[in-house]
C-alpha cells in the first residue's frame, strides 16, 4: 500500500509542477472572474425582463440554471484538458523519455504503478472539478440568490465524468504515443459533446432517430451522460414553460440519466482500467 501512495504522490507532484497545470489554473481564474461578471449583470437586470402576462416563466430559475449549466460545461472542459494533459503520456510517453524504466523494474508491479498513476491524476482532477463547481455555485448564490435543487450530486457527476476520461487516456497511453493519445481522447470528448447536442436537437425536432443515436453515444461515452445527468439535476424543479425552455437550450435535456447510467459509468470505468492493466502487463518497454 505504501508503494501506491509513493507513486500516487510522485504523479501528484509531477502534475502540479507541469506548466499545463498553471495554464489551467490561470484559465480557470479568468473564467471564474468573467463568470462572476456575467452573473452580476444577468441577475442585476433580471427585474427588467418582463415576459407577457400569460407566459409563466421563472426568470431567476431560468437564468440560474442556464448560467450554472454554462459553468458546468466550462468545468468539464477544463477538467478534461487537465486530465488529458496529465495522463496522455503515462506509459508510452514516459517510456520514450526514460522516466518509466527505473520505476517498472522495482518490485511494485506494473498494475500497482498504473493504478497509482491513475489515482494521482484522479485526485488532482477531482479536487479541481469540485473546487471550480463549488466556486461557480457560490458565485450564483451570491449574485443571484439562486441555488439548484441538487447541489452536490451534479458536481460529483462532473468529477465522475472527468475520472472516466482519465481512465480512457491512461488506456490510450499504453498503446498510443502521447500526441496520438491526446488527439484521440479529445476527439472522443468532442464526439460525446456533439452527440449530447444532437440529442437536444432531436428532441426539439421530435426526431426519435436522432434521439436514439444520442442515447447510444451517451452509453458508449458515459462521461457525456454523467454531465447531462448533472444538468438535469440542477433544473429538476423547473416545470412548465421554464423547464421546457431549459430543455431546449444547449444545457438542457438529459436523455440518458438516473442510477442506470451511474452504475454503468462505474462499470465502464472498471473495464477501461482493467483493459489498461492488461495491455500494460503485456507491453514491451
Amino acid at each position: 500500500m505504501s508503494s501506491v501512495f509513493t507513486i500516487a504522490g510522485y504523479g501528484f507532484r509531477e502534475a502540479v509542477r507541469r506548466k499545463v497545470f498553471a495554464v489551467v489554473v490561470l484559465l480557470t481564474a479568468a473564467f471564474l472572474a468573467l463568470f462572476w461578471l456575467a452573473n452580476h449583470y444577468v441577475f442585476t437586470r433580471l427585474s427588467t425582463i418582463s415576459p407577457p402576462a400569460d407566459v409563466h416563466v421563472d426568470t431567476r430559475t431560468f437564468a440560474g440554471a442556464f448560467l450554472l449549466g454554462l459553468a458546468m460545461f466550462a468545468t468539464l472542459f477544463l477538467g478534461v484538458v487537465l486530465a488529458v494533459f496529465l495522463t496522455l503520456g503515462v506509459v508510452t510517453g514516459d517510456a520514450e523519455r526514460g522516466l518509466l524504466q527505473p520505476l517498472v523494474v522495482r518490485p511494485i508491479g506494473r498494475s500497482t504503478l498504473l493504478l497509482s498513476r491513475f489515482l494521482g491524476a484522479a485526485a488532482v482532477c477531482i479536487v479541481y472539478v469540485l473546487a471550480v463547481y463549488g466556486i461557480a455555485l457560490a458565485i450564483i448564490d451570491l449574485t443571484g440568490h439562486w441555488l439548484p435543487p441538487s447541489k452536490v450530486a451534479p458536481g460529483l457527476e462532473l468529477a465522475g465524468g472527468v475520472v472516466i476520461v482519465i481512465a480512457l487516456s491512461i488506456l490510450g497511453s499504453v498503446v498510443l504515443s502521447s500526441t496520438a493519445n491526446g488527439i484521440a481522447v479529445f476527439m472522443l470528448f468532442g464526439a460525446g459533446l456533439t452527440a449530447g447536442l444532437l440529442g437536444t436537437i432531436g428532441h426539439a425536432l421530435n426526431s426519435h432517430s436522432i434521439e436514439h443515436a444520442s442515447k447510444v453515444a451517451a452509453w458508449a461515452l458515459p462521461f457525456e451522460a454523467l454531465y447531462q445527468d448533472g444538468l438535469r439535476l440542477i433544473s429538476s424543479d423547473a416545470s412548465g414553460l421554464t423547464g421546457f425552455l431549459l430543455q431546449l437550450g444547449p444545457f438542457g435535456g438529459a436523455y440518458v440519466h438516473g442510477w442506470g447510467i451511474r452504475v454503468w459509468s462505474a462499470g465502464y470505468l472498471c473495464v477501461a482500467l482493467a483493459l489498461a492493466l492488461l495491455a500494460f502487463s503485456r507491453r514491451d518497454l
Partner: protein, 280 residues
Amino acid sequence: MAHALAVHALEKRYGSVEALKGVDLAVEEGELVGLLGPNGAGKSTLVKIAVGLVRATRGRAEVVGARAGSRAARAELGYLAELFRFPGWYTADEVLALHQRLTHSTGGAAERKRLLERVALADASDRRVDGMSKGMQQRLGIAQALIGSPRVLVLDEPTSALDPAGRRVVRVLLEELRSHGASVLLNSHLLSEIELVCDRVAILRAGEVVAAGSPAELSRPRGVELETDEGVRTVEGATREDAARLVAEAVAAGRRVYGVRVLTSTLEDTYLEAVGDEVS
C-alpha cells in the same frame, strides 16, 4: 544452487525481426559478466528481458531462480537503463529516497549519503536533476541501481555519458562490488572497460552468442617477440612457455638479447574476429 541470472534458449522476435535466436547465458554469484556486440546484436533486448521490461518470445530468463519480471526477481535486482531520466525537479537525495521507498529499503539517509559518495556526488545531494550534467545523472542512475544492496546488478551502458574520470569512478565501484560478492551483468561498448573489470565476456552477434569466456581465454597467443643485436623478430605460434627456450637459443647462437615479449591478441582483436566487419 540457482544462478544469479540465467537465460536459457532465449528467443525474441519483433515482427519479422529475430532479435535473439536461442541465447544461453549465466551470471554466477559474485561474477561480473560483460556483454559485447555491435548495435542490433540483441544486447539491450537480452538485458530488458532479464529485468522484465520485455517479454521473451521463447525460452526463459531467471533472476536468482525466479522468473524474470516477477516481483521476486525484481526484488533482487538493481538496474540502470541505457536510456533513462529522473524527474528534473527532484534533487539527487529525493531520487534516491523515492527508490528507497519503492524497494522498501531501510537504509535511510545514511544509505543515500554512502551511495552518493560512492558515485562521487556527495556534494550534489541537494542539486536538482535538471541542474546536473549528463554524466552526473548517469552516476546518480548507478547510485539508484545500488539502493537496497541488490544481489544482481544489471547495468546497460553505465559509462556512455561519462568522461574518463567518471569512468574510473564506475570501474572502481564495479571492482568494489565484485569484492563484496555482487553479481553484475554489464552491457557496454567499451572493450577496455569490459576487459579490465569482467570475469567473463559474452559476445553477441545477430542475436546469437558467438564467443564467450574470460578475457584471458578470449585472448589467444600470437607468438613471442625477440629483440636482439640483429633486430626484432617475431616467432609465430610460440607461447609464453617457449620464451625462455628462445632466449637461451639466441644466447647460445651468440646473439645479444635486449628484450623478449609474449604477444597475445587483445579482446578487441577477438571481438573484431567474432563480429566480422559489422560497425558497432
